[in-house]
């Protein structure tokens, strides 16, 4: 019953991820001050999603977990969120008069 399947990540990996996260934070703060037109928001959210993915995959061990359900739950919850956001925002952007 001992827990042989559990994945022990290397400390180096954790430090690397941490470093990547910090760099991304600095990057996102910097990029925001540069004029990219419409793309500022896209870039900011893109970086945030990248960071979130790192945390989920490595720190939260989604990448190596033997548990298939974890990914399924994560995907369905995010899908549900997008559904809420998409369908309600769609109402606002298709309203003719303010």
């Amino acid at each position: 019953m001992a827990n042989h399947s559990e994945h022990v990540a290397s400390a180096r990996l954790y430090w690397l991820i941490w470093l990547a996260l910090i760099i991304c934070t600095v990057l996102t703060a910097y990029v925001a001050t540069v004029d990219l037109g419409k793309f500022n928001t896209v870039v900011a959210l893109g970086i945030a999603t990248f960071k979130a993915t790192l945390v989920a995959l490595i720190f939260m061990n989604v990448k190596h977990t033997s548990e298939k359900m974890t990914k399924a739950i994560l995907i369905s919850a995010v899908a549900w969120l997008l559904l809420l956001l998409f369908l309600s925002l769609a109402d606002y952007s298709s309203r003719l008069a303010g």
Partner: protein
């Protein structure tokens, strides 16, 4: 579900040797899997909990983009970024604590957990300072002195805001007054959402700190072994989740439009 672990007695007598195994589980593997599955579903729930507010935020951000951008510029970017870093550090220490538990290193486990608490509290402290500043700037919608037009918290104090809001082009004083009233109202929505979102996040942090105090104490008592550290693991999942929420809050609230800042 695995093996059909028959129990001779319905009561948990045979489990006494392994106090952490609850009577209705067949074995520890089952129990551990149940706990982490439960936590993951709970985090799914949490996504939707914040999701409701995100939805409101996005609707209004689209509707009143300029006012939101102008108000966003009054948030303290360096402090916000620094706080993000603090929170990321705490995520690292949590991950490390779990790793040390897997390796059976109790001393480092406790150290990492203590560091997590320090970072967590630091985050809350810094957040508190930011809120305090907002109070001084009269940016909290709750209070009657709410004011983003004049005084310490005038939006126009921030470089570029007058242009963004179009105030620089209005000469007619009546029109200007009208526009200012509009700004005053719409930014209230921004700040309402700002406080609702960061407040709800802070509540999650406070709960997280509470949980980690217990976890640290358990680690200190040597409750976690390489075979069994489920409470630490699922508390860690929670902590990382709260971190991820902030990872989104930071750009959404602080970085709406910082061009030319």
């Amino acid at each position: 579900m695995s093996d059909s672990h028959a129990m001779e007695t319905p009561l948990a007598v045979e489990h006494e040797a392994r106090p952490e195994l609850r009577h209705h589980f067949a074995d520890e593997q089952q129990q551990r899997n149940a706990a982490s599955l439960g936590m993951w579903w709970f985090l799914g729930t949490e996504i939707m909990f914040f999701g409701g507010m995100f939805c409101g935020y996005l609707v209004y951000r689209r509707m009143y983009f300029t006012e939101f951008a102008a108000a966003s510029r009054t948030l303290n970017l360096p402090i916000g970024a620094f706080n993000t870093v603090v929170l990321l550090c705490s995520s690292l220490t949590v991950a490390m604590a779990v790793r040390f538990a897997q390796l059976g290193n109790r001393k480092m486990q406790v150290r990492m957990l203590l560091l997590t608490l320090v970072f967590g509290l630091a985050f809350l402290g810094i957040k508190g300072k930011e809120w305090g500043d907002k109070y001084k700037e009269h940016h909290i919608p709750t209070f009657n002195h709410y004011n983003v037009i004049s005084g310490e918290g005038a939006l126009t104090n921030v470089k570029g805001n007058a242009e963004l809001l179009g105030l620089d082009k209005i000469t007619d004083p009546v029109k200007r007054q009208q526009r200012e009233a509009e700004i005053q109202q719409r930014t209230k929505i921004f700040y309402s959402l700002y406080f609702a979102l960061t407040g709800m996040h802070a509540i999650h942090m406070i709960i997280g700190v509470g949980i980690f105090i217990v976890i640290t104490w358990m680690a200190h008592k040597g409750r976690f072994t390489p075979e069994y550290h489920t409470p630490l693991e699922i508390a860690g999942l929670y902590w990382h989740f709260v971190d991820i929420v902030w990872i989104y809050l930071f750009p959404l609230l602080y970085l709406i439009d910082r061009r030319g800042a």
